[in-house]
Symmetry: C2
Subunit: 279 residues, 2 copies
């Protein structure tokens, strides 16, 4: 039996990408808190180059926690120096995640490196990097959340596509500090969903919701508000919560033509209502 | 060791969708034969309502064989009558496939039915229908080729996405008259490709090639010519031919903005050359 989210607003999270980065992070924090959410997941573009400690304090002072910190620099590279630089960039981000107080760092791992058609080469690089980042994050108290992306992003964004593969990598890396981020948009279609979510068990570090629109106008930035598409969100949440997961349900909607154009207070209100009624 | 296609032109096939249906089937047949290909895969829209027997004869007289016949009416429906009608439409198409002399009928099975968010309900319907169609095709000498489609088509076109799932369905249906169509565009990203192609073994009924363009402008009709994208086609063909597959390598490119606008003789020449050099 999944939680009644209207009685668990402290578990409802907003990923700031949902609001289209229309306002500076401080203003976004205030709006998210005012709308009653309990958690926020900021992006590096809102944080880096600013006073990270002050942003973390502001989030806490507003009564919010972090559900995660988005997201990794892509790992795969066709030379060692770039590969190392990518890892180091992620270590810097992990430090910021720790300062902010984020429990996990979302890994969108990257696809093929320039000129390559070799997915396995990318996968090997990512696994090597994630093992190192899991150790590094462990010292900082920040977990590594491997996010499998929808296969339509395999070439350019993520050589990691299936939840089962993310769990295989967790097994291989074998660190208590690595787990998975489950985003319904990426995995709703998977015929092995029930099996793989059960297998994920206590390795689920983040749970993201939005909806798949029919038709989808743009593969990157035409995600739907929960309830406006065809994903059976309650069934997926049931599977996730059946593992014992009782952390955040995070709304993450990339919607250039629709939600990003709306007033962020309106978007937040709709997100909250839809979490109660359709997720 | 994969075949040298330049010495196996009789195994090189053109799916007529590659040519954008610019010419009537008779003219298309002549062009495909003149370009040296050994096989052709026509679509129902070119055949139905015409003299099917005469088209079959023309194909044979031109020295061509069929590599397959495209494609099924979607199966899933929200009422029994529509479901039955969908099966019957496919039976009619199977008869045409037999008259044409096609060894297999390509099943693009359909996604969610109207109003549904239940992928498993669609999958159950498709399996039931395919069992019946496999029996029906057996009497006609036409095999049923289940084609897993890329997960970006799951909602609208195919609840069948993974090759492993297609093979599970074959196991379940357990008919000698059902197998799979492997299209590189749909499965290139799958981390279990090596395992699943080996498992497919002699159930591979069709092998389709094209390329995944980076970026992809349109999810439906922006497929690339072999060599213009990021799919490691030779590696996939190696895996397929390692199973003992020695049937057609079929070019199927949906390319509204590029190849469909070109002269079909030019497209055919490029297809042939790329089969020799990049597949």
């Amino acid at each position: 039996m999944a939680r009644n989210l209207s009685q668990h607003l402290h578990c409802c999270a907003i990923n700031t990408a949902t609001l289209g980065f229309q306002t500076p992070i401080d203003q976004t924090v205030e709006c998210v808190a005012s709308a009653g959410f309990g958690l926020i997941a900021p992006w590096r573009q809102e944080v880096e180059g600013n006073n990270v400690k002050a942003i973390g304090k502001h989030i806490r002072d507003a009564g919010l926690k972090l559900s995660g910190y988005c997201r990794s620099t892509y790992i795969p590279a066709n030379d060692t120096l770039t590969f190392r630089n990518n890892i180091e960039a992620n270590k810097c981000a992990l430090m910021d995640a720790a300062i902010l107080g984020a429990p996990c760092f979302i890994m969108v791992v990257g696809g093929l490196f320039p000129g390559s058609k070799n997915m396995n080469a990318s996968r090997q690089q990512v696994k090597e990097a994630c093992a190192e980042l899991a150790d590094y994050g462990d010292k900082l108290g920040v977990k590594i959340a491997l996010e499998p992306l929808h296969p339509m992003y395999a070439a350019e964004r993520s050589c990691l596509t299936l939840l089962s593969e993310a769990l295989d990598w967790c097994d291989e890396i074998n660190s208590p500090n690595i787990g998975v981020a489950i985003d319904c948009y990426h995995i709703w279609w998977d015929p092995n969903l029930k099996r793989d979510i059960a297998r994920a068990g206590n390795r689920i570090l983040a749970f993201h919701v939005c909806d798949w629109l029919v038709p989808t106008g743009d593969v990157l930035n035409d995600r739907g508000m929960m309830g406006d598409g065809i994903i059976d969100l309650p069934s997926i949440r049931d599977l996730v919560e059946a593992t014992g997961y009782n952390e955040a349900v995070e709304v993450e909607i990339f919607s250039k033509a629709n939600w990003w154009k709306r007033d962020i207070k309106e978007t937040l209100n709709v997100c909250r209502d839809r979490l109660f009624t359709t997720v």
